[in-house]
């Protein structure tokens, strides 16, 4: 046991523990929490007179939750480790581009799962490279428009709820709206006369093979970097937001969950299938009256849900997955769960909302890798398995769509 643990009195009682040991502990804590729920929800207990049981169960659940939190915390590292590596990279970029770049770091002490931190460097590197290479102007251009010669990149991190938001902001020329729009139209993301919202337009720069840089430098502009960013963010269950103002700069924000191990979910049932949805995307739960659901045959039978005067598109899971249920047998009153996604709210009808619980995530591998719009499988306290829905991809529709 003592083999891999080293203590040095000088560093205030800090210990080096191998990450394998921590992973093992996390796994065990996961199994412990499953096993506890399995025990306390055991069907054998039905109908028994258990006077003090509920109080004991409550206490046990509290403790398990705290152990989970404590175990999760063990694996948290300051995001500054990643930021410092990027700072070194910026020095290199200064040399290669001949630009002067000042890199500021804020919130470097923000804690993030080591597994996330390890995978953040590459995608962040691409964002920073893009800022340095395309965003920031050369010293002469900057002087001409009245900016300080030295360009500025601000790298910041902050925790908001269960998410860490990392932003890379530069004070460069901003994204070239016309150029991107032209290219996006060429590639068929928008109609020739369509004027997309800025947030919708910026998203296309993450599409595979999308690059507007005329000169392919060895730094960036080959249109592959953004793919890497996209793929990593999907794997980390993160989101990307871009904002840009012409002449003033670009801001890329990555929203990433603090920990990948446990996920606070609500559990939904549709017929005999179980789904789990991360709690922070659920905006509300509604019980619709029949007249609140409006079918639109003109739009291939899509449906809208009327909620306080606003219309929210309805996404039926059975239709999304191409196995439509026989609607005639439907119990008329279903529950609608409204999810917040970056492309607006969607309403998903389910039969029942079962529970809210911390679930242990398992990746979809092998035969299950093809399941669309899912982050993975969630093992529930009952021993059942639910599919964790990725509401972003659900909102994008069965074929995927842009982003």
């Amino acid at each position: 046991m003592s083999g891999a643990v080293e203590t040095t009195p000088a560093d205030g009682g800090l210990m080096r523990v191998s990450s394998d040991k921590i992973s093992r502990l996390m796994d065990l804590v996961g199994e412990l929490s499953l096993s506890v729920s399995e025990t306390v929800q055991s069907p054998d207990l039905l109908g028994l007179q258990l006077t003090n049981f509920d109080a004991a169960v409550h206490r046990l659940n509290m403790i398990v939750r705290e152990v989970q939190d404590a175990a999760t915390e063990l694996r948290l590292v300051p995001v500054d480790d990643v930021f410092r590596r990027l700072r070194r990279m910026v020095r290199e970029l200064e040399r290669q581009t001949g630009k002067q770049i000042e890199m500021d770091i804020e919130g470097g002490d923000t804690a993030i799962d080591k597994l996330v931190a390890d995978r953040l460097y590459d995608p962040l590197l691409h964002v920073v490279r893009n800022s340095a290479d395309h965003g920031l102007e050369g010293p002469d251009d900057r002087r001409a428009v009245g900016k300080p010669e030295q360009g500025r990149i601000l790298l910041s991190a902050a925790q908001v709820g269960s998410e860490v938001r990392i932003t890379v902001a530069d004070d460069g020329r901003g994204l070239a709206r016309d150029k991107i729009l032209k290219k996006a139209r060429e590639k068929g993301f928008f109609g020739p006369d369509e004027e997309p919202e800025p947030s919708a337009l910026w998203k296309v720069i993450f599409e595979p093979g999308f690059s507007t840089a005329e000169v392919v430098s060895n730094l960036s502009g080959r249109g592959v970097g953004m793919d890497v960013l996209n793929a990593t963010m999907k794997a980390l269950r993160g989101r990307i937001a871009v904002d840009s103002t012409a002449g003033q700069g670009t801001r890329v924000a990555l929203h990433i969950p603090v920990s990948l191990a446990f996920l606070d979910c609500i559990i939904l049932r549709l017929r005999h299938q179980l789904f789990a949805v991360p709690i922070d995307v659920v905006s509300e739960i509604a019980k619709p009256r029949p007249e609140d659901l409006v079918g639109i045959s003109a739009d291939t039978g899509s449906e809208m849900f009327r909620l306080r005067g606003a219309f929210i598109p309805v996404c039926r899971l059975d239709q999304f997955y191409g196995t439509p249920l026989d609607r005639a047998e439907d119990p008329p009153t279903q529950v609608l769960v409204v999810f917040n996604t970056s492309s607006g709210p969607i309403a998903v009808p389910v039969d029942e909302i079962l529970d809210r619980q911390q679930v242990v995530m398992k990746p979809l591998i092998g035969r299950l890798a093809q399941v669309r719009a899912s982050w993975g499988c969630a093992l529930l306290g009952t021993g059942e398995v639910a599919l964790v829905l990725d509401c972003e991809r659900l909102a994008a529709g069965p074929s995927g769509g842009p982003q």
């Binding site: 179980l274 591998i365 092998g366 035969r367 299950l368 890798a369 399941v371 021993g383 059942e384 398995v385």
Partner: protein
């Protein structure tokens, strides 16, 4: 730990004695589908379990019946009858799940029942020629002769992959 149990199961499926010298690559686990006998290489088999509670998942082909939670591992189950286009059969107490690792990922094969573990040396395995369909890798790795019986040896990677395998017509021939 899980490794150990897997090894243990591998070493004594159905109590058949194995000799030290046995070559694992020539060992097959045979199972029944209706009147037909099939075999898979024992090297990929991690364990054999009875029928479990299956939980249905969306977006998988009809022959993937769902997943089971096997001691914290989520394992998709393939009904091999349905995979081969054979008629579905209600699961009974003989129905078993052969849990395998195919290409790093676990899969459970639902079969009518396991028969035995056999050593079938390459000399006893005939290549199965598929008439007029040479473009795809066949699901049948060979036909093993066991005395006067035969077992159809399956290529589990093809079995588990998405491709079409129109087996029944061929088997009927």
């Amino acid at each position: 730990m899980a490794q150990d149990t897997a090894e243990a199961t591998k070493a004594r499926p159905d109590g058949l004695p194995l000799r030290e010298a046995d070559n694992i690559d020539e060992m097959y686990l045979t199972f029944a589908l209706g009147a037909e006998e099939y075999g898979v290489g024992i090297a990929g088999v991690t364990e054999i379990v009875g029928m479990q509670r299956i939980m249905s998942v969306p977006d998988v082909p009809h022959y993937i019946k769902g997943v089971i939670n096997l001691r914290g591992k989520v394992i998709p189950l393939m009904d091999v009858r349905l995979r081969f286009g054979m008629p579905e059969r209600a699961y009974d107490e003989r129905t078993v799940v052969i849990v395998m690792d195919v290409g790093e990922a676990p899969i459970g094969l639902i079969v009518d029942g396991v028969s035995e573990v056999l050593e079938i040396p390459p000399s006893q395995v005939d290549r199965h020629t598929q008439f007029g369909r040479s473009s795809t890798r066949p699901v049948i790795a060979g036909i093993g002769r066991i005395g006067d019986r035969v077992a159809v040896l399956l290529d589990t990677e093809v079995l588990v992959a998405d491709g079409d395998i129109a087996l029944p017509a061929e088997m009927a021939a």
